[in-house]
Symmetry: C2
Subunit: 301 residues, 2 copies
């Protein structure tokens, strides 16, 4: 899994900061998560191939998370895209996009498939042989979801030395990787665990933005490998966090700790702060493995 | 008049080129003309004070001319704007904006006044004591208007030496500037033209983008001081210009020449071209006073 942060600031795009958008690479898929104004330019700047994006997940309909979507869809059209595009987002997103395409007489020449969300329970949105994506219902001023990406367990790993020692035919390797016992060329039954090691533990990534501090999400996030949790504010502005339904760095860390996350990435910073290291320091009072998002930063998870 | 080009490229925003947007300064008014994606960032980059923008003119509903509008409106709200904002644009623009404000539950705390256009005849959109703005109906793939800004004639200029020679009381200066004859302190009738010179000829600016080559607009543009005319293509791609309802540099120059424009600014360049000087060279085969728009370029008209 590789995570590219395109934008990690709250509210309004500025000359040197971008609103929310990020690309998660899993096994050749590029999942775009949120799409603030200017995301298509940040995709270019970060050399993300447009054609590789087939699934876009929009957390909620505040502008800093979705105003770049119609432009990206239009640019795909101008570039003669022909592969389908799936958009997952709150009910209403289809009307917003199609109204603009209709009034500009610029229908896409590729298939645009909307998956509108209104459930308050976690929902499985996407599944293939390698990965699942589910919603994380969040509490914000309007209907909002986070997204939880989970790799499926991979095949067992062949122990090359052992497998040649036991003379196992190459044609059987695939079933060995699936965990099956096999018979060697000289007729012996070889238990699978003699010639394989367990697969790497599957990784998972949770995107939680925007949300008020909500311990209700901890159970769903249990043992997540990497948690991106919004921290719009520092504790010194705690009195702003609750009414605007945002979190502080310390609160984000408390969620990471409660969920036993492997790592916490903080983002969605209010543009009022000059020194973002204060977010890291504050979060580290509660939980140790903290990183700061930054526009253009890549995390190899 | 001062014209700041925020973006002058066609179709899709890129790392180093912006879609259509420009600010025309006339007598302390800042008129924003078109608002492609990223315009709010370009306004910041060019240090245009947001609060001074009270009138936004949208030529048509193709994304490269309007996808930045909802973000700008939202940012005005976040900055606690309290002055009215007037938006002039094609019918449908109100629905596009209000749908997004409604679904994000982010109504503006200032007054947003839409002036929706559907006339195919020139219309007076705005008038104050210094300036008028009227539409220039254009021919494009969808309903489109250019905009013609005209200064009103200013007051006559006082000839300071003459006015003191004839001993005219300071309290009369305003009526002298209005062209009235006056009586001097020693009782003589002084004809106005003895103590004043005519005002500077009023300037005018026409924005014509996007449009196919259309001689029908020449009469309305007659003697315009500065004409910004789209030139998406060079003549070598003339076969693309007509079906997409765009113009070439040479065609833009023919309009400038026909209208006896004081100056031609070319813009709305297709991003397929590496060397924009080819546009200038091509236009200069027809008309001599040609300039190229460029993102961030300022023209003192």
């Amino acid at each position: 899994m590789k995570l590219t942060i395109l934008g990690c600031y709250a509210a309004t795009p500025r000359t040197f900061t971008n609103p929310s958008a990020q690309v998660l690479d899993i096994n050749n898929h590029k999942f775009l998560i949120d799409c603030g104004e200017g995301t298509q330019v940040e995709l270019r700047r970060n050399k993300v191939k447009f054609s590789r994006i087939q699934h876009i997940f929009i957390s909620h309909l505040h502008g800093d998370h979705c105003f770049g979507l119609v432009g990206l869809i239009s640019t795909f059209r101008l570039l003669n895209r022909d592969t389908d595009l799936h958009i997952y987002g709150p009910k209403g997103i289809k009307e917003i996009i199609t109204l603009q395409l209709k009034l500009s007489n610029s229908w896409t020449n590729y298939l645009l498939i909307f998956h509108e969300l209104d459930s308050k329970e976690p929902q499985l949105l996407y599944e293939d042989d390698k990965v699942t994506v589910e919603t994380i219902p969040l509490k914000h001023r309007i209907y909002t979801n986070g997204f939880l990406f989970r790799e499926k367990p991979g095949p067992r790993k062949l122990l090359i030395n052992e497998i040649s020692r036991y003379k196992i035919d190459v044609s059987l390797y695939n079933s060995v990787k699936q965990g099956k016992d096999v018979v060697s060329e000289d007729g012996k039954l070889i238990p699978n665990h003699w010639v394989t090691a367990p697969p790497d533990p599957p990784k998972s990534y949770a995107y939680c933005s925007d949300t008020v501090y909500d311990e209700g999400i901890i159970e769903q996030l249990k043992d997540v490998s990497v948690l991106y949790h919004e921290s719009t504010f520092l504790e010194e502005h705690l009195e702003l966090a609750f009414p605007t339904k945002h979190s502080t760095a310390k609160q984000a860390a408390a969620i990471a700790k409660g969920a036993n996350a492997g790592r916490l990435i903080l983002g969605h910073f209010s543009t009022r702060y000059g020194d973002l290291n204060l977010f890291k320091t504050e979060a580290e009072t509660v939980y140790s493995n903290v990183a700061l998002a930054d526009d253009g930063k890549i995390f190899n998870l």
